[in-house]
Amino acid sequence: MTEPLIRVEGLVKHFPVRRGIVFKREIGRVYAVDGVDLEVSRGETLGLVGETGCGKSTLARCMTRLYPLTGGRVIFDGTDISDLSRARLRPYRREMQMIFQDPYGSLNPRRRVGSIIGDPFAIHNVADGAERKRRVQELMELVGLNPEHYNRFPADFSGGQRQRIGVARALALHPKLIVCDEPVSALDVSIQAQIINLLKSLQEEFSLTYVFIAHDLSVVEHVSDRVAVMYLGRVVELADRARLYSAPRHPYTCALLSAAAVADPDRAAQRERIILVGDVPSPVAPPAGCRFHPRCPKAQPRCASEEPALIDRPGDPPDHFTACHFPVEPGERLAREQPAIGQPEG
């Protein structure tokens, strides 16, 4: 395999928790992302799933260096961008773009659509005046907006149309990588399909690479080539899409998949659901060992002390990685009762 477009090595992002007004003391840390290794090859779509608060968005913002990293490296297109200054980072900003979750919050309400989409051109001094307008209108047409709406305000558009504006802005400079941070979560289901289809056809047309974040498993299944499952700041399982959905090995992935809605009510009734006990532990004080062990139906004493590595487990294809000491065997039924060890009642 050739050099991946973006490679993340041991990425760590902690947010300090401070207390005090004038003299702020650090009283703790939120371990938002705590040691993640990932690779995304050119032209592929890597899906990133996990519950709210598991660090997906933080990871995305670290990959695009919107946040400074606490530790680890991000290598984009062969260059280590982990601690480039803002000025040195600028050329790379052209190559990687983001699409944001909230189509209302991500567009400045006081600016006209033409000027919003033309922003990348203005910031990087690519095109001016009539040329900029022409290219913006081209982009609007490309993403399925009426180019005549150039002078309208974001408030004049529906949620789906606004997300198209966000897509057009991200596409303006022909980036290599687009990080989509839950691009469809805020949209109606019918509009979701439109945006996803738009993203897919744009990927073919411009050979884009996507990192696609979502908490909706069916959306991720639809768009991704490979899928990474995150839990409490770590990747717990990473595999080819078909493999991950058909033969998940990590107990958390199994639970997540079993919780997804199924369209067919007959199948839904037969299906066995794994109900996890308790809540996601606070990322301020993540559990020792395997972070999933307090809720895991298969947990053993070893899980509480020794952290499992994200490696290829016996019997799996070489691109299937699982961070679990006791991966789920095919056909195995996960117990539904209390977790084997550890806490909670109530």
């Binding site: 004038v22 702020k24 913002r61 695009t64 919107l66 803002r86 980072l89 600028r90 900003r93 052209r94 773009q97 983001m98 944001f100 979750q101 909230d102 919050g105 991500s106 567009l107 400045n108 309400p109 006081r110 600016r111 006209r112 922003d119 990348p120 910031i123 990087h124 081209e138 047409e141 490309l142 993403v143 399925g144 907006l145 009426n146 709406h149 002078n151 309208r152 305000f153 004049d156 558009f157 529906s158 789906g160 149309q161 966000g166 802005r169 509009i191 399909a193 439109q194 289809n197 738009l198 056809s201 744009l202 047309e205």
Partner: protein, 312 residues
């Protein structure tokens, strides 16, 4: 270029002509429908005209601002003359025409009021924007600075300052601006803090925009509404401030007329010459009221969600 596969699923709005109105156009439309705002705006426009044309108008009336009419402007007992055909609003204790002096006082009040408000807003926006935008360290420094300015006993300080530097119009503007900018700065800082966390700021950053560009293009336009409102409310405050300083004798130096020193002059005479106190006072009150009401209307127009105290 078109991509048919994409266009199949588009949701292009129907061709019904929707006029894309900017928030400003909408605010302007609301403001125009507000009768109180129109009356106040007209009043202020007349004031500005009068201030500009003070020379020609007083020439028409026939008296200069410091000209003493020793024949008809003062009684044999040396008291002010009441309003009459010759002196429409009467005269003061030195036989000067009160109408002409009020007209010239308008000039002082507007120039000082507007200039001080503008200077205060300018400083306040810059400081507030930097405090809100550049993270906790800059914020802490600038916020403490604003706290210090706001905790000055301003009248005492203004009197002391003017006695040291010596009174002049420019010093007066400076003093008023110095005591007003911090309040603007606080408002701007608070707004900036909330805007900074919006996703579109993050989007701009991910596109590679620099701080200055984000501040000017993405943050500032969202501050314009509160800043306009604050400015319109700051102008009357500055005018009153100017009158106060002049009243205390540390503003405009006599014999140049200002509403404040006219009211001050009337102190010893208002029992026998009501017009001496009432007309400059009325000019001050009406002007302040007009700016305040206009400011309220502008705020209502810019933010239609705020409830009005009184239906208009």
């Amino acid at each position: 270029m078109t991509a048919p596969s994409i266009l199949e699923t588009t949701e292009v709005a129907p061709t019904r002509t929707v006029v894309g109105r900017s928030p400003w156009e909408l605010a302007w439309m609301r403001l125009r429908r507000d009768r109180v705002a129109i009356v106040c705006a007209v009043f202020i426009a007349v004031l500005i005209l009068v201030a500009i044309l003070a020379g020609p108008i007083s020439h028409l009336i026939g008296y200069g601002p410091t000209e003493q009419d020793r024949v008809h402007g003062i009684t044999l007992d040396g008291l002010p003359v009441p309003p009459s055909g010759r002196h429409l609003l009467g005269t003061d204790n030195l036989g000067r025409d009160i109408l002409v002096r009020i007209i010239y006082g308008t000039r002082v009040s507007l120039v000082v009021g507007l200039a001080a408000a503008a200077a205060a807003v300018f400083i306040g926006v810059i400081v507030g924007l930097c405090a809100g935008y550049f993270g906790p360290v800059v914020d802490a420094g600038m916020s403490r600075l604003m706290d210090v300015v706001l905790s000055f006993p301003f009248l005492l300080f203004a009197i002391a300052l003017v006695s040291v530097i010596g009174p002049s119009e420019l010093v007066e503007i400076g003093v008023i601006a110095f005591f007003s900018w911090a309040a603007v700065g606080r408002v701007v800082r608070a707004q900036t803090l909330s805007i900074r966390e919006r996703e579109y700021i993050e989007a701009a950053r991910s596109l590679g925009a620099g701080d200055l560009r984000i501040m000017l293009i993405d943050v500032l336009p969202n501050l314009v509404a509160p800043v306009i409102v604050y400015t319109t409310l700051l102008i009357p405050v500055s005018i009153v401030f100017e009158a106060t300083l002049s009243y205390l004798g540390v503003g405009i130096i006599p014999p140049t007329p200002s509403w404040g020193n006219m009211i001050s002059d009337s102190q010893d005479f208002y029992q026998v010459a009501w017009w001496f106190l009432v007309f400059p006072g009325a000019a001050l009150i009406l002007t302040t009221l007009a700016f305040n009401l206009l400011g309220d209307s502008v705020r209502d127009a810019l933010d239609p969600r705020t409830e009005r105290l009184f239906a208009r």
